[in-house]
Symmetry: C2
Subunit: 354 residues, 2 copies
DNA sequence: CTTTTTTAGTACAACGTTGTTCCAAAAAAT
DNA sequence: ATTTTTTGGAACAACGTTGTACTAAAAAAG
């Protein structure tokens, strides 16, 4: 592996100036076909390829966007990343990925690592508010916050209709006559007061949807049925079910705040001999692919992840390319996806069957 | 968003030379604490951050490695990518991702897109041999091939013990007295001849393990039980089961060549009323997280994906940092993971229970 | 046959870093 | 008080590309 050929080497070999080589590479300027051919051949023979660092420096941009997100141990993250990569490629951008796990101090800790990666801007995903928004936002590159932030108005963001979607799903369940609905993935120590106080983050927002649905139907909430789910992994769903059953509570429906929790919950329920949906119905949130192939297939909320990702990328590139207007926020549309793990009443709106 | 501050701006503001600023940034040279403080403050006030393109150009390296792989619609890919990102970060490298799907002309088509992304080297993942290895290998940056290639000796590669692992699993099943074993994910038109001819790629290699196990146990292969599985997605697993059952064959065990196929197969079997493992046992390959939470939990082959990824990254960085020896190849160690979807006889070796 | 326009190309600077070389001031040794 | 050594810092070049400004040759117009 000898030293990489540069444009100067090519120019020398072809007997032209470096600018002419550059013109061949970029289809600029004008030149005799024979010259172009000579340059092309020299490029071929030397195995030359353009040095991106130099081009970037000159251009003042890397044409790379960064994606900072949880590790792909969450199926949602993989789904999201896929969509981001697609959307970026469509606009001619590459994607640099920086992941972090729930055990570290989280997003805040990798923020410092991002500038090093040289992207023109970053999509930051997080499922709860950042301890110090400033650390993320005071970077000197455009940032789009993706996730369940309350909108703080300091940078562009994409969010999901967390509260509305859960409210709609729970309402739909209540309408089918069941009030005995558990919730997995709630904020710690869930009671009305602490959920209302914790007014940011997917946990709280989705839990609020549950509360609002009950309130609106004049139903009483049994707070023992709201259990937390740590990191929202499948293993947390298992544990949540164990902990719920250990209190001798066994709701007829389990609303899980993401699909991974739901899949873990179903696993543990079935291990203990419960039948789904006959004994317990289970509902998820995210509509990741895994839910389709779960046994039974998972009834869930589709928050339009592709739209979520596409808008994040679109807003980010828009900023990178010079837009300077005030912070914008985009909220996706949701729909309810009925499969076999839970049955929704026919009259529910926004329903989609797959 | 005004123009980004440069090292020159900082130097000017602090009343020092640009090299002194550079020294502060890189902890090189020596200087009075008071000077350092002045520079630090100027950096702060101007919100300066180093321009990576310039640094890369000067350094001749981006400290980025590229990962070219299937889209994350395969859980295996997400798992693999996670491990690659981790391994790279540990060594101070970032990761640029370039994905491709099965519908396109595949890996070959994105090869041309990789140089554009400016990584110092690439890990190429593919589950079958490339139509034109040359296109990938004649790049002017280091490449590590990850996947089920036969070793062509032209670049470093990491592979799994595909044949051995399947052979061991199938042997273990044969030892428990069952010879009625289906195989999902085989090469198209599977018969002894075509599998032996197609001597490259995970499909063929894993299928060979099945054949060898039967041969070694003196058992007769019912070729009708070998069905293909297109892209090895869960939906392909579903279809494979349908197609198998439509021929009135119903084996006692289904060996699926990856976990996604197995999960899809279990879904379709249960939808049709089969009990697992009582009526049909199901086995997978990859040991992705999803298998643990499937219903029932999936018995599978663990090919050591973390080791697979770590060695790919390690070899690549080794090349990037100057190693020039002959092409190397690393093969991971496998183990059998027994869960509830299939029971292995106790005497089988290499067993791991989780 | 001259003048103007177009084409085909060159030379040089600049992007923002960091490494090398060098010099002046301060500290230490004589 | 003078010489030697160390320290703090500056000036400049280079990394490989592309944009600007320019020139010589060829083609078109008069």
């Amino acid at each position: 592996m000898h030293k990489r050929a540069t444009i100067t080497d090519v120019a020398h070999k072809a007997g032209v100036s470096i600018k002419t080589v550059s013109n061949v590479l970029n289809d600029t300027g004008s030149m005799r076909p024979s010259t172009r051919r000579r340059v092309r051949q020299a490029i071929e023979e030397l195995g030359y390829s353009v040095n991106m660092s130099a081009r970037m420096l000159k251009a003042g941009s890397s044409h790379l966007i960064g994606l900072a997100t949880f590790t792909f141990t969450q199926p949602f993250q993989a789904y999201f990343a896929d969509q981001v990569i697609d959307a970026a490629r469509e606009r001619g951008y590459g994607v640099v990925i920086n992941t972090y796990d729930e055990t570290s101090s989280g997003l805040e800790s990798i923020v410092h690592d991002c500038p090093r990666l040289g992207a023109d801007g970053w999509v930051f995903f997080a499922d709860r508010p950042l301890r110090n928004n400033g650390a993320v936002l005071n970077q000197h590159f455009p940032v789009v916050l993706a996730g369940d932030y309350s909108s703080h108005g300091r940078s562009d963001s994409v969010i999901m209709p967390n509260t509305e979607a859960v409210k709609s799903m729970v309402s739909s369940l209540l309408e089918s006559g069941i009030e005995d609905i558990g919730l997995i993935g709630a904020p710690d120590g869930a009671d009305r007061q602490s959920v209302m106080n914790a007014n940011e983050g997917g946990r709280a927002l989705r839990t609020q949807g549950y509360i609002e649905a009950f309130d609106e139907h004049g139903a009483r909430i049994n707070w023992k049925l709201l259990v937390s789910g740590e990191h929202w992994h499948s293993s947390d769903g298992e544990r949540a079910v164990s902990s719920l059953l250990s209190t001798n509570e066994c709701p007829k429906v389990l609303m899980c705040l993401n699909d991974a929790l739901a899949i873990g919950a179903m696993h543990e329920l079935q291990r203990r001999g419960f039948r789904i949906p006959e004994d317990v119905q289970v509902v998820g949130f995210d509509n990741v692919e895994d839910g389709r192939f779960a046994n039974p297939a998972l009834t869930t909320i589709d928050p339009d992840v592709p739209g979520f990702a596409a808008h994040a990328v679109s807003m980010l590139i828009n900023r990178i390319e010079g837009f300077e207007g005030p912070a914008r926020s985009y909220m996706t549309k949701y729909s309810l996806v009925e499969r076999s793990s839970a049955r929704l009443p026919l009259q529910s709106r926004n329903r989609k069957v797959r």
